[in-house]
Structures are given as structure tokens and as C-alpha cells.
């Protein structure tokens, strides 16, 4: 249920962008979520819908781009995709590389009514 505070933060940010750009209605919002963020898109969308009711954000669309997780091996510097809970280099078998992607939680764009 941490999606609630994340969605609240998102709605506040979108509204700040809206106000700073003329105060019209919001048509679409683009967010980027890393695979390792433990954010369930459906839950985020449900919270979003209730939070924006009766506001200038009501009816806006949320486009979610999922970013896959990747890591760089600390030993041989190979960059490899991380699926599941296993950060082990496929080349040299060293465990625990540095995460390069998968932890994104970003507001990427806001589309406003003309």
C-alpha cells in the first residue's frame, strides 16, 4: 500500500506542473517505473483515479513505462539483465553487481489541454 503515498506525491507533482504552465486541465501523465520498485501499476492507477476526482486532473490518462532491471558486474564489468531475485554475473558468476536500472520512479511528462 506504499503505492498510496507514491501516487499522492505524483498527483502533487503533476498539479504543480499544471499550475506552473497556465493552470489548464491535464490530459495525460507519463511515468517511468523500474521493475525493482515493487510498485503495482494497477494499484497506482486505482489510487490515481480516486485522488484526482473533482480536480483539474480528473479524467487524465496515466501512461506507465516499465523499465527492466539491469546490473553491472563488480568484477568483469559485464552488464546483464536482472530477472527475478538473482544479481549474479552470467559471465564470471560473481554475485551482487551494481544495479544500473530497475529502480526508476519518475514523472517523465505531463500533457496539458491547449
Amino acid at each position: 500500500m506504499h503505492e498510496l503515498s507514491i501516487t499522492q506525491a505524483l498527483v502533487e507533482q503533476v498539479d504543480a506542473v499544471r499550475v506552473a504552465n497556465g493552470g489548464g486541465r491535464v490530459i495525460a501523465v507519463e511515468v517511468r517505473i523500474g521493475a525493482w520498485r515493487q510498485v503495482v501499476p494497477e494499484i497506482l492507477l486505482t489510487y490515481y483515479e480516486s485522488l484526482v476526482r473533482d480536480t483539474p486532473l480528473e479524467g487524465s490518462r496515466v501512461d506507465i513505462e516499465n523499465v527492466p532491471a539491469a546490473a553491472r558486474c563488480g568484477k568483469c564489468a559485464t552488464v546483464f539483465p536482472v530477472s527475478d531475485a538473482w544479481v549474479v554475473c552470467p559471465d564470471c558468476a560473481s554475485p551482487g553487481g551494481t544495479m544500473l536500472g530497475g529502480q526508476e520512479l519518475d514523472l517523465v511528462g505531463v500533457e496539458l489541454e491547449d
Partner: protein, 222 residues
Amino acid sequence: MLQNILEVNDRAAVENRERLAAEAVTAVNLISAPGAGKTSLLERVIPTLRAGLRSAVLEGDIATTRDAERIQRLGVPVIQLLTGGGCHLEATLVRKGLDELPLGDLDLVFIENVGNIACPAEFDLGEAAKIGVLSVAEGSDKPAKYPLLFHEVAALILNKVDLLPHTDFDLDLFERDFRGLNSAAPIFEISCRTGEGVAAFAAWLEERVRETQGVEIGPGPE
């Protein structure tokens, strides 16, 4: 445009971190499932810390001051942070807790997060280190099932090891899965019931405190 959605939390976390560094205070964020033994660990480790090391506790809970009352009996400052239903602590709430603590008179602050191994891993509180607590009764598959937490921790407590003979906990599987996520963090096998292993964890904390105080930013060289 690119804005971090957790910007407000992360900004508060940076402020907390700077404030703690300015006072040379080490803060650790304890994360575990409900009942894994975070409060019991504090009851064990605080009296084990070397004499003169001044600690305090920020006690995060959804409801009641029961854990804070337990900590109070140890004679260290404790501030109860109630989330009122929230499943994790956020940096803004921790900031309020830090406001209430005499930071200038402290070396170490324990932040006991709300019992939960999913959500708290998402929120930076400004701590120097996240410490995970897993009890053997929860099962050896937890690192693989909650990878973010186990990837983020600087140390892992495996608690209730006195129960190992009575559970199906597979130490080898657990270590293999954990090392697949985190090659650096030490694992402390502890029983808060018997006190086994607590001294090694206390020594690790004392080392973290020494590191913080060693790099204290004072006036520059003349």
C-alpha cells in the same frame, strides 16, 4: 522533463542525513516483518553497546506506544512515530522525530521501521545504513521473494536461531539467495532469546559509529 516522484521524501532524507552528519550521529534503519524481533533486538543490543555510547530510538508503528514503552525501560531517549495506518516510515516523519531528540548528545539513533519487508525498502529516511532482520520462523525463501530489501541492507540479522532445529529453515539456500543479491553485507546469526550473537552485532554498530565520528567535518586545515 524528468522528476523523481519521491522528490519530497528524498529531499527530507538528504536534510536528515546532513543534520545527522553535522552532529556526527549514526542513524540505522531497522526493517523486518512484524514479529521478527526488531524491538527485542534493541532490548538486547542497547545494553551490550560499550559504556558511554549514547543511543536513542525512533520507534515507528501503525498504532500503540507499546514498543516505545519497552524501549523506555532501557533508559534511552525514545520517540514514538505513529503512521496512523501507513505501512512504512517516510523521511518527513523521521525529521519530526529528530526534532525531538537531543542530537548533540547522541552517537547512534536506531530508527525502528513499521513491521513490513516490502514498502519500507522504498523510502530513504536519511539513515547511514539499512539493517534487515529476518527470523528463521519466516522461512529461508524471503531474500528471493523480497529482493529490494535484501539488496539494500548494509547488514542482515538472522534472528531466532535458537529455533533452527525446530524449523525447516535452509541456511545454505538462504545464504546462496542472499549472496545473489548482496555480496557485501555481513550476516549476524542472533538469538534475542538467549543473547547468542548479539555482541558481534554490537561491535559492528560501534565500528559504524567510529567511522561516522572519524569523518566528522570540522574546520578545514589552516
